[in-house]
Symmetry: C2
Amino acid sequence: MLTPDELRGLVEDYLGGLALTPELHGQAESVRYALEGGGKRVRPVLCLATAEAAGASPEEALPAAAALELVHSFSLVHDDLPALDDDQLRRGRPSTWAAYGEAVGILAGDALLAEAFRLVLSYPAPHAGRELAQATLGMIGGQYLDVTGTAPDEETLHRLKTGCLFAAAVGLALWVAEVPEAEQAPWRAFGGELGLLFQIVDDILDGDGYVVTHGAAEARRLADEAAGRAQAALDGIGADTSVLEEIVSGLKARTA
Amino acid sequence: MLTPDELRGLVEDYLGGLALTPELHGQAESVRYALEGGGKRVRPVLCLATAEAAGASPEEALPAAAALELVHSFSLVHDDLPALDDDQLRRGRPSTWAAYGEAVGILAGDALLAEAFRLVLSYPAPHAGRELAQATLGMIGGQYLDVTGTAPDEETLHRLKTGCLFAAAVGLALWVAEVPEAEQAPWRAFGGELGLLFQIVDDILDGDGYVVTHGAAEARRLADEAAGRAQAALDGIGADTSVLEEIVSGLKARTA
């Protein structure tokens, strides 16, 4: 079993060597720019670790893992646009639109999304692609609720904006590892809790969201509970989930 | 065999009754708005007619045909944005961003693209989805060349901006009708010529592109030649292609 850091290395190498569609011409440069820049690669690492725990090789899961990172990157590139969050900086360097202009920034997001589907459609069966499409649509719905301030509640917002893609990271791995649908439930429960854990810790680090609604101490308690339920879901799976446990601990304890 | 008008009716009914992903929440309204508005539905009608000529029922091809229209609509919604063409009007009514604001307009395009992949992934095999992803990436590359003024030549620009999706309209129909890859070449030659015909006639009607480069008379001659080659490709196919011939004549003679 590869460690999370080793899996992250696989993801970086794969993304760095990714052959983009030649017909993108010069647009490819902004797509690569958006994909670089030091993200933590949490979703693709989770996908690879789940795939390996479920009996596939991490290498088999790389196209699916990369597709998840491309969808995540697409959402960041469009969220940063002036009409949405108007962020000129992303991880300490100019956001994609700030570096390449708004027009190319919009097209970069579009290209990332289409490349993601190209990657996930490299598998013989359509299940992973279907799950990625559903997750992407949920994420877009969450972004709409956020931008328009029309979310019915915080939980719905987070489930869509963050949860969908975390759940898909586990779901895509299950399709790649050909885990029968009837056996997917505990894995998927794990994915759901992990997305929640990630979101609450994010809010604790940023001092917003759950911290504003519940206070810092209660947010910490909710994070620990989500981590506990994620661990309990793993305990119900008859497989070596040690690397996934490490990911739970890492997300629970993260400080950046 | 259904006529082009009957096929257009099928497309309109299908798009009008299309169940969008519930997780889109209020974003669905702008997606529906973008899909209405009286487009000619050339690409989905071409897809259905090709599918029927190749032995499938038009109904089987409806998800693929609708996916093509959603990708086309995605491209219009993003092209109309202030940072790209800055069009406030589309077919005589406010463009999507002008009606719903820029943020929701950007997300509407994103949602159209993701819904398109959801639709095309409803088939058991991934081939149609793969072809749609490639065509979309080509179209985005064409848009990049256009926006940045970096197209090597007009032909490359049109092949990407218009040709890719016309070619995919034929290609997706072939996958739906399960035409073996070895027998697809004449159909695909037809699709390529039809895309070129559409583009040249578009330029003749708008007085730009081919008309500027070649003059009106020469543009007309090039259009007639493309129509002739499209017809010749159909002549080489051992199937009832009468409706496709009608589409060629219609595109050649269109005045709007």
